[in-house]
Symmetry: C2
Subunit: 331 residues, 2 copies
DNA sequence: CTTATAAATAACAACGTTGTTTAATTATAA
DNA sequence: TTATAATTAAACAACGTTGTTATTTATAAG
């Protein structure tokens, strides 16, 4: 049996309501008694029962994050950032790796104040599951009722292509996976094509390189194939993700192509790790802290007043210059 | 204001205690009334208040997992497995990426029934933090009071070396990171040396290859260095982790060395992903499900009766044959 | 010295459940 | 019928807090 405010009340010779006030640092109790009560509480190793507290105050000051695909590293940086952001608001974050609906059920048991969902695939979820619960999704729109924080992938590609064009590049390749399951990858691909059209760039058989996967070696193999053809090489390459870009760099280096002297490279995913690659990579996409901040801000807005939040919120990408791009050699 | 059993009682024309019993499927209420109450509850979208329930029943049927280093993929498979194992016991799992002591504080607020800690570095934690809380650690001993599930890395290396020796190999290399911070890596290294001595194998400058890091490219570079020397190549290589082994395979393939015809490879980390590498890799270490099961079993033992659990529990490794080892060519 | 006023504490009613006790109803046997 | 047992439902006391209201005690004003 753990110790309660009643036990402390007894020991201090006051009523338990006084103990409650003292421990909550209420001005309604005399400094003397307050000090004494706090002392006794500490001595006795008192730990508040949060179930009881939550029964009367409705909030838990905790936000739940649903993250069923822990195996995907890409998001882990974002998760960490979101946690930090949440803590700035004086809240805690808790994680579940269950599917969205199971996770939400569990979070409700813990009287979580709001939920953030990272889910790769669109879920059919009964509206009753998230009724009266501030909830937001990132990555995939779960449902048209649930506010959704999105990234403008097309604009990111436009940004990247424009940057390269401004440096004088014309032969640009896109190395990415555009398997039909992942909407985000497709948007990157389409964004690239859009930009290509906009800048009137020449499409060749090597403009688009399909990796067929999202791992580093998928990018590696694809790039290997690209650079081993006899035709003229591109002067710049855009990789569709952090991992793929790592593979690209590896393959280029093996061919003794020097970045950015011989070839320029841009990678999608604006994360700090980009700087740690063999060549620090110029990257596109919203900086990870911007995404984190946006998500967290939206959640808190949602908790304040449900109606003020737009259903879709789009984050705009930025370009972060590092050391992997140079002016195109005049060919 | 959400709906409570009292509201349902009113609607059903019974007392709230009857509603409670009906919803808990107690035999003390007539099937008729029970059905009616359940129907009304469903109609009204009743959701139990778990804070209230927990106030009277002390258990939450949830286990917390502290996992401060989400960025490390290696463990994510294990985390997923542990979750499944916990669910087999009818419990839920919840995650925190905070440091151990912060996470435990939060878990206590949620009346978590037990805690599992994955922590890379030894923590100094006040005993009061985990007093009266079933807690267990994996990976690193947190504290001599907290039961600790360990892996016998030395034995794993012995197993691997023995297996290769039995296949006739004599020139075996160990590719791994033994930076002084990670105790586990060091034990693998020492285990390898121990085995080498036991089987009287010849130590050469290439017996031990230090990667200086745990990423795939660390293994890749190290192996590259190894195979590009002029001296006689080893006939077998042991990689100290999944990622490093992936790098080893890549480097060997690039040198047109065929696995296992030209060279045999064993990787530490007995995870299913080993089968998906370019060459399915024979691996050593406790199978991930065995580790998960051991951890979860220990936690439940701990919840039952605290004293029955030994402070250190060692899991023994196994060798999983796949396609990466062959009989040594007679040189 | 009252008496009004402020400060400090005590008392008590929530919060939404569960589990135990008590009461009311119904069925069964004498 | 009536006493008795079995079934069903109601009543009530927890669980450990917080917040509101009531009471006591100290302080100041007249």
């Amino acid at each position: 049996m753990s110790i309660t405010i009643k036990d402390i009340a007894e020991l201090a010779g006051v009523s338990y309501s006084t103990v409650s006030k003292a421990l909550n640092n209420s001005p309604l109790v005399k400094p003397n008694t307050k000090a004494k009560i706090i002392r006794i509480a500490k001595e006795q190793g008192y730990e508040p029962n949060f179930a009881a507290r939550r029964l009367v105050q409705k909030q838990s000051h905790t936000i739940g994050l649903v993250w069923p695909t822990v195996e995907r590293v890409a998001l882990s940086t974002l998760v960490t950032k979101i946690k930090e952001e949440i803590e700035k608001h004086g809240y805690s974050m808790i994680l579940s790796i269950n599917s969205a609906s199971t996770a939400i059920e569990m979070f409700k048991r813990f009287q979580i104040d709001a939920v953030i969902v990272f889910e790769e695939t669109k879920q059919k979820m009964d509206a009753s599951v998230f009724a009266n619960l501030p909830i937001i999704s990132y990555g995939t729109a779960l449902n048209n009722e649930i506010p959704f924080v999105d990234v403008n992938y097309r604009q990111a590609m436009l940004l990247g292509v424009k940057y390269l064009v401004d440096l004088g590049h014309k032969r640009i390749s896109f190395v990415g996976d555009f398997s039909p399951v992942d909407q985000r990858q497709i948007e990157k691909y389409e964004g690239f094509l859009e930009a290509f059209e906009k800048y009137n760039l020449p499409v060749t058989p090597h403009t688009i390189v399909n990796t067929g996967g999202l791992d580093w070696y998928d990018g590696y193999h694809a790039t290997k194939r690209l650079v081993e053809t006899d035709s003229t090489l591109p002067t710049a390459v855009i990789g569709s993700s952090y991992d793929i870009s790592a593979g690209i760099i590896r393959a280029l280096r093996e061919k003794d192509l020097i970045i950015p002297k011989d070839i320029s490279v841009i990678g999608y995913d604006n994360i700090p790790q980009m700087a740690n690659l063999e060549t620090p990579l110029t990257s596109i996409g919203p900086p990870i802290d911007v995404i984190a901040k946006e998500i967290v801000t939206t959640v808190f807005m949602l908790m304040d007043e449900k109606d003020s939040v737009p259903t879709i919120q789009t984050i705009h990408p930025e370009l972060k210059e590092r050391a992997s791009c140079a002016i195109a050699k005049s060919t």
